[in-house]
Each structure stands twice: as C-alpha cells, then as structure tokens.
C-alpha cells in the first residue's frame, strides 16, 4: 500500500444537492468517488494526487434504473450488478447487459458504477462500446441545472470529457428502439475474466429487408482501444450505409476500419494486432448478419 490515507480528505454528504453545492462552491477542488474501483487502485499505487474527495456512494438519487416508454434512464450511481439484474436491460439492451458481466469480477461489478466507468474515460472502458452502438445520451447535472449531450461527444480526448468543473455525470439515457436491430458485442482481452480490453467492438445494424434487398439502413459501430477514447467509427459506418452485405462490402469495410482505427502499442498488445482483430470482428459481425438475413429470407420467402 503506497498511498497514505492521512493525506486525503474524504467526506460523504449523503445527498445530491449537497454534493452539487460543494462542487459549485469549490470547482475542481473535490474529486468525486463512487465505487472506488479505479481511484482506490491509484491510491494503493501511491498515485492518487487528489487531496479532497467527495463520496457519491449510497446517494439514492444517483442509483436508479428508470424505464420510460421511449427510453431507459440509468443513474450514474448504478452498479454493474444493478445492470446485470435488470430484466428489461437484458431483454432490450443485451449488449449493455453483456458488457456488465465483463467489468473485472463479481466483486468489482458490485462496486463499479456506470458513471465511474465513463468518467474514468479509459479508452478500454467496458461499457462504452455498447453505449455508443445504442446512441446513448449523457445527462450532466450541476447547481445550474441539467444538460444533455450525445454520448459520442462526451469524451474529448485521452481521459478528458465534457463535464464542467462543477458538474457531475447524472444519468445515461438509452433509446428503446433496437428490438429489430442486429446487435453484436465482442471484447478481446488477455483472458476470459478480469481482463482489460485489447480491443472491443459493438455494433447495431438495421437491415431493410423489404423487397428482399437487405440494405443496411442504420449502422453504429462503437469501439474500445482503437483510439485515445472509446469512439464511434464514422467512416466505416458511412461506407456500410446503404450497402448490401457482399464479399466486396466486407472487404471494403475491413479496409475502412483498418484505416480509421488508431490503436497504439502498449503493455498489453500491439497496434497491428488490434487493427487486424478489429477488422476480423467487423467481418464476423457482418457475416452473422448476412447469414441471419439469408435464413430469414429462406423461411419467409
């Protein structure tokens, strides 16, 4: 244990209003800590510089899962165990349910929060690819009120985000309109559990199969570890939009993702490996979609 507990102040006002007032009164002075699964690792490594921390743990106003007719709102304080146990998320947002099982281990999932995962902003963040593929919205809160931005605008650089100094991430909103989308999420890690992503790809695609043409009407690709932060792959998406899935489309999509991805060499993996595997994952998904579409066509001529 290389951190010194006595060098840090930690308070727990216990309610959202008090925390927001604190952040407004001393912007940038207080570091919020939810489940602590990232901050406490830094603390143990002797690398936690924040002298003052304010606890978000146990604030009921942040830990909710609200099902509305058009969307599901997940409080930033919801843990990944909360997400795993929610029947509707499992049914309508299966990629998010799947990603929730990948965070660390059961003991991490019971403490790690959705908000913490996003605010920590690792390029390898486990929940991010699914949120990108689901067109999530981020809601932020301060004493000045609420505001929303698309999640794909939330990360602005390596471990930098759109939160103002007095703002907290309040909720993530997910539209409930992916029932007919083909969905895919695969994470490639160092082992089957407790693995940081080397590369992960999430995809949602809507295929228009009227008149038997199988055109890609909508596509969202969210990736981890292919850039300085979790990001959509817009150029690859644009190439796929309006196309049928053929051998040529797949080849072009492979080239596009290889060109668009900007992975790095790091202690866990290499850029070359990440690029190639990203292309393989995309191809795997497109083949799956194409097979499903074909089998549907075969059964519903």
């Amino acid at each position: 244990m290389r951190g010194n507990a006595e060098s840090h102040q930690l308070i727990a006002p216990g309610n959202l209003a008090s925390v927001l007032n604190l952040l407004a009164a001393e912007p940038g002075a207080w570091t919020p800590i939810a489940g602590g699964t990232e901050i406490m690792v830094a603390h143990a490594a002797g690398k936690l510089t924040a002298p003052k921390l304010v606890s978000l743990w146990g604030i009921a106003d942040l830990r909710f899962i609200d099902v509305k007719p058009e969307s599901i709102a997940i409080g930033a304080g919801a843990t990944f165990v909360d997400l795993r146990r929610h029947a509707l998320i499992a049914e309508e947002l299966p990629l998010l349910a799947k990603a929730s099982t990948w965070i660390g281990s059961i003991a991490n999932q019971s403490r790690a929060t959705l908000g913490g995962n996003l605010v920590n902003g690792s390029p390898a963040a486990d929940s991010s690819p699914a949120l990108l593929a689901y067109d999530a919205e981020i809601e932020m809160i301060s004493v000045r009120g609420h505001r929303r931005i698309p999640y794909h605008e939330f990360h602005t650089g390596y471990k930098r985000n759109a939160l103002a100094l007095d703002e907290l991430l309040y909720a993530v909103h997910l539209p409930r309109r992916f029932a007919r989308h083909r969905q895919y999420l695969r994470k490639v890690g160092t082992r089957r559990a407790m693995a940081i992503s080397k590369v992960a790809l999430a995809a949602t695609v809507l295929v228009d199969d009227r008149a038997g043409y199988g055109i890609i009407n909508e596509v969202r690709l969210g990736a981890a570890s292919l850039a300085a932060f979790p990001a959509r792959l817009y150029q690859t998406e644009n190439l796929l939009l309006g196309q049928r899935i053929t051998r040529d489309t797949i080849a072009a999509a492979r080239e596009a993702i290889v060109a668009e991805a900007q992975p790095i060499d790091d202690i866990r993996s290499t850029a070359e490996y990440r690029r190639r595997v990203a292309a393989n994952l995309l191809e795997e998904f497109l083949l799956e979609v194409s097979r499903e579409e074909r089998s549907m066509k075969d059964t519903h001529p």
Binding site: M1, R2, N4, E6, A45, G46, V188, T190, R191, R192, A193, M194, A195, I196, K198, D209, G212, Y213, G214, R244, I245, T246, R247, T249, I250, A251, R254, E255, V258, I267, R268, S269, T270, E272, Y273, R276, V277, A279, N280, L281, E283, E284, L286, L287, S290, R291, E293, R294, K297
Partner: protein
C-alpha cells in the same frame, strides 16, 4: 519395508493437518503477526541495470534522525548471500548489476513515512553498458561476470555423435525458446526480524528452507549456529520462489533490526515482489537430431542456454537439471549436450517448479513433433519407437532398473482423451471453421530428489519424538506451503507407528527445534524425507521394544506407556535417522555420467486446444495428465498437486509474459501479469499409476514438479495440429500467433477464409 502392504492412513484421504486453521482464517501468515514496538522496513533499489554508484544523497525534506539507515558498510560479517557461489551481495556495494538491486535499507515505526523516505533517497550512477539477453552475453563484450560471462557449463557426451551425421536418413534441426515466468504466489515475500546481543538474530517469515536462511544469516551476521534462529510462518505459496530469496530478505530485516534495536517487519507489496524477486530462467535450446528412416533416434546434439541473471545463485543446478532432462524419455545411443548458463544484467533467476526441466522438456517434446512432421510419421508412433524401457540406458548411461511403463501410460492417455478420433475429426472439420481445434501430447520424466551425489552432500537428518503429553512430533526442516508436507509426513509416522492420524503432529518449523533434513525442493520431500521419517518411526519401535518392553502388536495406549518408561530411563523419547543412498548409486560429476537420480516419475500429458482465428487466441479446452509417481500417499493432495502444476504450465505456455524494459519488469502488477483464472482453466483429468519405489517413503517418488514439465509442449504441439504452423517460443500470446499466421497471408485478408460465403441478398 511395506510398500505394498495394506495401509490404513498412508493412501487415505485424511484431512489436511493444518486445514481447519486455514479455513477459518486462524492461520498466521507473516503479515498477520504484530509485535509491540515493531518498526517497518523498506528497500531502496537500483533504477539502472548496470553502473557505478557515484553518490547517495538524502533529501533534507525528511527528518532522517527518525530513521535507521543500513548500507553494505553495516554488514557485520560477509556481505554475501550464501548459496552455491557467494557472489550475490546482500546489499550492493559500489556497483549495481541489475535493476531493482537492493542498495540500502530504511526502517521507521510509521509505514507511510517510510515510503516518503524511500522516494527521498537520491542515487546517482555512472551507467555501464548492460547485457540484457543470452545473445548479448554470448558476445562477451562487455564481460560482466568472471572471464567470459559463463556462470556454469556442462558437456555431456555419450557414444560418438559426429560419426552419425553423414549416414543418417534425416537430420532435423530446431530452436526453441522459453521466457521468464513469475511464481505469483498469492502471499508476497515477508519477514520479521529481531536482534539482541544475548540471543543473536531471529527471523520469522514466508519461506521454504529454514536452514538456507540460517546459513546466510550466520555468514552475514558472523554468528555461531545457536545464535541464529529461523522460524517459518504459514506460507502462502512458494513454488521455488521462496527457496533462496528469503535469505536475502531475512538478512535485510535482520540488519535493520540489529541497527535500529527494534523488531522490524518487511513485507513486499505486489509491485515490489514482482519486480525484485527471482523468476524462472529463460532458455534457448537448439536441437540437431539424426534419425533413421523409421524415426529411430541415432544422434542428438543439443545446445542449451539459460539466462542466469546478474549473479550465480542457483543457475548451476538449474542448468544441471535442464541438461539431464534435455533428451526426453528416449533411447539414443549418441548424445552431446553442451549447456551454458549466461550472466546478464537482469534480476537473478532462481528456482521455480521444474527447475530447468520445463525448459528442456519443452524443447525436446516440440522437437519430436517436428521430427515426426519431417518424416511423415505419427508423433505418437515416433515416440513409441524410441521410448525407454526396463533395462535400457538413458543419456547418462543410467540403467533403468525400476519399471518404465511409458507405453502403458501412453495407451491410457490416448484412450482417455480419445486422441486419434479427435485428431481425425479436427483434420476434417478445421478447414471449414474459423475456430480450429488440435490435440497434442508430451512424454516426459522428472528425476526425484537431488542430482547424483546431492543427497549424500545434504546428509539429511530427520525423525520423530514423543512429548510427555502423548503427542508424536515429526522432526524435519521440510516445510508446508500448500503442497501437503505436514499431512504426508504425519501420515507416514502414524502409519509406521500404528497410531491414529490425530496422534501425530509436526514439530514447529523452527531451527531451534528441528534437525536439518534438507530443503523443501527438488520433489524430495515424500521420497527422501518421507523415507527418513518412516525409518525413524520403525527405529523408535525397535528402541521401545529393546529398552521399554513394548510388545509385538501394541495398542495405542501401550505405545505411549512404553514411551514414558523409555523417557524415565533415557530423558527424552527421540529417534533420528540419517540419509542413506540406495545401493549402487554411482555418479561422475565431471563427466555427468551414471545414476543421475535415484528414481524417476514418468508421464504422458495430452492437451486439447481451440484456436480462434478471429482473435488469434489459443485456449486449452481439455487436458489429461497420466503419470506414474510411485506410491500415492494421499489421493486428494496428489491430485491437487498435478492440477495446480498443470494450471501453472498452461500459464507458462499461453498467458504469462514478463515484459522487460531495459532490464526492469515493466508489467509488475497483477492486472498486467496474466495467470489463468477459474474461467480460463480447462477440466484437468488426472490419473495415477503406482509402482512403489522401495527407497521412497512408503514407496513414494517425487510429484511436486512433474506436472509443470508437460503442459507447455503438449499445448504447443496441439496448436501445431490445429493450425499446421510451428510455434517454438513460449509464452505464445495471441499477438505472436497473429504475427506468424498473418505472415502467411496477404495483409488485407483474414488468415483463414470465412467458412460461409456472405449471402447475396
């Protein structure tokens, strides 16, 4: 000698002797122990791999008067860790020869102030050119150790290798490499030390070999035997990683205790333990093999090199075992093995389960599959044609006097794994699948106990005594660290004395109370020390019959009554025995010729793997371990040893990589040094054949290290079966599979074309 007689306790699944304490959280590991007025210790370490220490300065922001500071100048005796060659300093003096080398020590009552202080010590170096690999060391420029960078070398020759090449039907060459591997015991290294002028030095800690630590402390503190006391605390895993390192840590804690006048505790955190302590020797093994047209081995020429790190430590004995395991369980009339341990400016490598055998066996077992491929012979058949049998001679010309049942083990392993059917099915199905399967084998042996005359040199003394309150105690310096020492040795004593298992306990692992029965290494505990405990127990019965009127088939109560009668006349009830070599052991240490080991355990392992060509990851899907280990003393403990060793072998092959940056372990965190989890390990099926070895404890041979020898080559052979591509280096990570597989294909394409053409809609 009852190797085959029916036994009640030996061979039965009795509960682990110290099991309940471990299960209720009562077991005391070193960091669980607090002492009044205890101080904490920390180490200031080198940040460069080689250089002269130009200056050491102490930042005035710290009040240094609160601290105890220890340097090499404070060592009262010899500033060297006593292993085989005493070339490793306890604390660096003037020069550092590897990253993370200990330079000075600090102690303070407050752990947090200590960490600030470590950061406040500034060391300036004049760096020297460093050697960081076997190849760099072979250049012998710079020379960093001795005259030629060679820590040790062996030349083992049999027959006349050079006469064969010209006429052999085939000559097959190969080069195989293994990387460093970290033990990753879940309990980090730790020691508590206390010093007084009256009692000398006492240490408590996580360790395997109390008398190894004792030997170093005597030299470092210049104290006689009785003023040095070493006590093992409950030890949370070791695997060889606590064979020699605790001597260094014990000396460090001791020096701080001596200079500060306080009890000092030093516990490494995971980052320090990973970076600064011993690991498995990396290796490079080159094979050149001549075979006839049927695949019979005619000649083997082997160039075996290990990376020993900056100091000799145990590299010579690791090299010895590697050399003696380099030719596999095969008959070959002409052999030349030339082996070298090379010095580099990296953290000295040390003992790790297998001790050179995993490296050597990886090479020969991979190479056998390559030979099979060249000849177009089935790899199973190739091995059968070359297996050792009773009456054959091995690479040191040792006659196989004990039964060798490799054929039987192979048949069993092939049947259990459904090997041939699977191989045939995979060959058919792989082309059409993105996920490829393969199945591979490894055949191997592991020599039990110390090499050659090693056991005679150790001259172990062990036995039993009986306390006045009716408990038999096993007196050994062999320690428990999970493998079951406490249980099997008390089983043996209880069996031989015809008592209940609960009548026998272990004497505390405290050099003040136990004889030196040698280190707990080399798979010698059940065979060598078990036999000593058995003999001493039988000797006790004889003593009681002769001097205390013990009858022929005494009940428990009569045994203890006789003990009290004996105590009345003799003062104590104790029976000790010294090691006796089995008859006919002849060993030439210069030529490496003769009886290398008194006994061998034999094994065939089969690995079934799945290679995903989307992610280039290989996983072990199923695993069979069939072995002959002499008598199985405890079925559950024995199974646990094999399963644990196999899991480590799987890690060695596919997951565990030490990432070096200029001689420092860059991935020194558990998040980045990857071992398989409960979600990653395959089912492991374990089968034992038992041929009791008459000179082992109740017929036992060694078992602890054997299971780490076989998995890596079996797995890589299976990957070869799955992909058709040779992989000769471990750890084999997905990035490495990708690099080699993709070199065979155009960059834009997937390696293996998709099975299903995309549907045109």
């Amino acid at each position: 000698m009852s190797t085959t007689a029916t036994t009640r306790i030996v061979g039965a699944p009795v509960p682990r002797k110290e099991g309940v304490d471990k299960l209720v959280g009562r077991a005391q590991y070193v960091d669980d122990i607090e002492r009044d007025g205890m101080w904490h210790g920390a180490t200031v370490r080198s940040t460069i791999p080689r250089g002269i220490i130009r200056s050491v300065s102490f930042d005035p922001c710290i009040d240094w008067s609160e601290f105890t500071i220890v340097t090499a100048a404070d060592v009262p005796g010899k500033n060297h860790i006593q292993l085989i060659v005493a070339d490793q300093p306890c604390l660096a003096e003037g020069q550092v020869n590897h990253c993370d080398e200990a330079i000075l020590l600090l102690a303070h009552p407050d752990k947090h102030k200590l960490l600030d202080a470590v950061r406040a010590v500034k060391i300036e170096y004049d760096p020297l050119p460093a050697v960081l690999s076997i190849e760099e060391s072979e250049k012998q420029d710079p020379v960093i150790l001795g005259e030629d960078n060679i820590i040790k070398s062996f030349l083992l020759e049999k027959g006349d290798v050079d006469s064969v090449w010209a006429t052999a039907a085939h000559i097959v060459e190969g080069e195989y490499r293994t990387g460093a591997q970290e033990h990753l015991y879940i309990e980090n290294n730790g020691m508590i030390a206390e010093w007084s002028a009256e009692n000398g030095i006492t240490v408590w800690g996580s360790l395997q070999c109390p008398y190894y630590v004792h030997k170093t402390l005597r030299a470092v503190f210049d104290l006689p035997d009785e003023k040095v006391r070493v006590i093992q605390t409950e030890t949370g895993g070791a695997f060889g990683g606590k064979e020699d390192y605790p001597s260094t840590l014990g000396a460090h804690a001791g020096l701080l205790a001596m200079k500060s006048g306080h009890v000092v505790k030093m516990i490494y955190d995971r980052m320090e333990d990973l970076a600064a302590t011993t690991k498995r020797h990396p290796s490079r093994v080159r094979h050149r093999t001549a075979v006839d047209k049927d695949g019979k081995l005619l000649a083997m020429e082997i160039d075996l090199a290990t990376d020993g790190g900056a100091y000799s430590t145990l590299s010579s004995t690791v090299l010895s075992r590697a050399t003696l395991h380099s030719c596999g369980p095969y008959v070959c009339p002409n052999i030349r093995v030339s082996s070298h341990a090379w010095a580099t400016n990296t953290i000295p490598y040390g003992a790790f389960r297998g001790f050179g055998a995993p490296q050597a066996i990886f090479a020969i077992e991979r190479h056998m599959d390559e030979i099979a491929a060249v000849l177009g012979i089935d790899p199973v058949e190739l091995r059968r044609r070359n297996f050792l049998h009773d009456g054959d001679r091995n690479l040191t010309d040792q006659l196989m006097r004990e039964p060798v049942i490799l054929d039987q083990l192979l048949d069993h392993a092939l049947a259990e794994s459904d090997y041939f059917a699977k191989r045939e099915r995979y060959a058919r199905e792989n082309a059409a699948s993105a996920v490829k399967r393969g199945i591979g084998i490894a055949a191997f042996y592991h020599g039990s106990g110390f090499t050659g005359s090693g056991e005679l040199y150790l001259n172990s003394l062990a036995g039993v005594d009986v306390t006045a309150d009716g408990k038999v105690r096993v007196l050994v310096s062999n320690t428990e660290f999970g493998q079951g020492t406490n249980t099997i040795l008390t089983q043996i004593a209880a069996e031989a004395l015809n008592l209940d298992f609960s009548d026998v306990m272990m004497a505390p692992a405290d050099t003040a109370h136990i004889p030196n029965s040698g280190p707990t290494v080399a798979s010698r505990t059940s065979m060598v020390v078990g036999r000593l405990v058995e003999r001493a127990s039988l000797q006790l019965i004889t003593m009681l019959r002769e001097y205390a009127g013990l009858g022929e088939h005494p009940a428990r109560e009569e045994f203890f009554a006789a003990c009290e009668r004996y105590r009345a006349t003799h003062g104590k009830v104790e029976s000790l025995c010294r090691y006796e070599a089995p008859p006919g052991i002849y060993w030439d240490d210069k030529k490496y010729h003769g009886e290398a080991y008194p006994a061998y355990a034999w094994a065939i392992y089969v690995a079934q793997v799945v290679v995903d060509t989307v992610t280039y990851s290989a996983e072990v899907e199923d695993f069979w371990a069939v072995q002959e280990v002499g008598r199985v003393l405890h079925p559950v403990l024995a199974k646990g040893q094999i399963e644990g060793g196999v899991a480590q072998g799987i890690g060695y092959a596919l997951y565990e990589k030490v990432v070096w940056q200029n001689g420092h372990m860059a991935n020194n965190q558990m998040t980045n040094y990857i071992m398989p989890t409960a979600a990653d390990v395959p089912p492991i099926h374990v089968f034992f054949e038992e041929i009791p070895f008459r000179y082992g404890g109740y017929g036992a041979k060694g078992i602890g290290e054997l299971p780490h020898d076989g998995p890596a080559p079996a797995i890589l052979n299976a990957i070869r079966d799955a992909t058709g591509v040779e992989f000769d280096t471990i750890p084999l990570l997905p990035e490495d599979l990708f690099t080699q597989l993709s070199a065979l294909q155009a960059p834009a394409q997937r390696v293996h074309p998709p099975a299903v053409e995309p549907a045109v809609l």
